[in-house]
Symmetry: C2
């Protein structure tokens, strides 16, 4: 799509990422969109609505993407591998949007904040449930399931903080490394070996 609304949204994503939401002015977004700032209000009722649109779209795309990754997968371990791979890949592919989703929630008023957080909690439950189930049923090593799931989720999300688009490793390569770190090492660990 190349509608004006899409152009505005793209410009806002770039600016919110680079300058932060509050430091970005409607005039900045307008300039980068090639229109005047008053014209933005034909497409969005307010600045907050642009942010909310970005946040909700991103979270819904992420949810849909992970559901697609889980399609047809049977075992708990393979499901865990699929969600880690998918989560990391998405965070490489949509770096700017997910960083905004992580750091600009304070720009939302109460109702919008609640709506977004509900969506995010539902998404994160997929991870937590898999880890809890895997531990309960003995597929993963025992441990504090809550803390382990926070550790895994934050570690995978933070890839967006250091990933570089044209860096040494591609998103797919990083996803593979994380899949191994999380599933083989963090979750299925054996008693430690002496390496030296």
């Amino acid at each position: 799509m190349n509608t004006t609304k899409e152009i505005i949204k793209k410009a806002a994503i770039n600016l919110f990422y680079k300058k932060s939401y509050f430091a970005t002015a409607m005039s900045n977004i307008a300039l980068d969109s090639g229109i005047r700032k008053a014209s933005i209000y034909y497409h969005y009722p307010s600045k907050e609505d642009i942010l909310f649109d970005i946040l909700m779209t991103t979270m819904k795309e992420l949810t849909a993407y992970i559901e697609a990754c889980l399609e047809g997968i049977e075992t708990i371990e393979d499901k865990m591998r699929a969600v880690v791979r998918g989560h990391v890949k998405f965070h490489c592919d949509h770096q700017k949007e997910v960083l905004i989703s992580d750091s600009e929630l304070r720009g939302l008023t109460t109702n919008n904040y609640k709506t977004f957080v509900a969506q995010r909690n539902a998404y994160e439950k997929t991870f937590q449930d898999l880890i809890i189930l895997g531990m309960d049923q003995g597929y993963f090593a025992p441990g504090d399931a809550k803390v382990t799931s926070y550790a895994i989720l934050t570690m995978c999300t933070s890839v967006a903080n250091w990933f570089k688009d044209k860096g040494r490793l591609s998103g797919n390569q990083i996803s593979s490394i994380y899949e191994e770190l999380v599933v083989t090492r963090l979750l299925k660990e054996s008693p430690p070996r002496e390496f030296k």
Copy 2:
């Protein structure tokens, strides 16, 4: 200390944490400090200088704290355990400050930004060097040292995102869990066991 400057700084930490740097007005800081906004300028030349003071103090305290944690520790594995414990504990004890340090760097002008990032890079090198050295010398399982160190550092830093001061687990308990997750599982892993 209870000087006016300290009171201003504390108020700013709370507000930058709750509302973000750009959404916080000097009048907000003044109100919470019990003075008028003009009086702030006697103690700080600008709003950015308050932010810079918070960021640099936090990073220097963190560096000093981790150095103290390493005092007298001999082996690479024990050093790794010490820095993970220390890093996580500090991020529980200074939750607001470290979250500001993570998300408000865009409020800094170029020179201040460079100064802060140099300090942060020096700190992070302690982690990276330990992991690289441990892998090279065979104390830890082989792997991509760069990615592994990013994974560990971001995972430990993100504790500040979910830690709750009066929650189920104390900062010390979480530090212990992370020490195990990072060193025993992530770094010293054996070939995976079949749990079921």
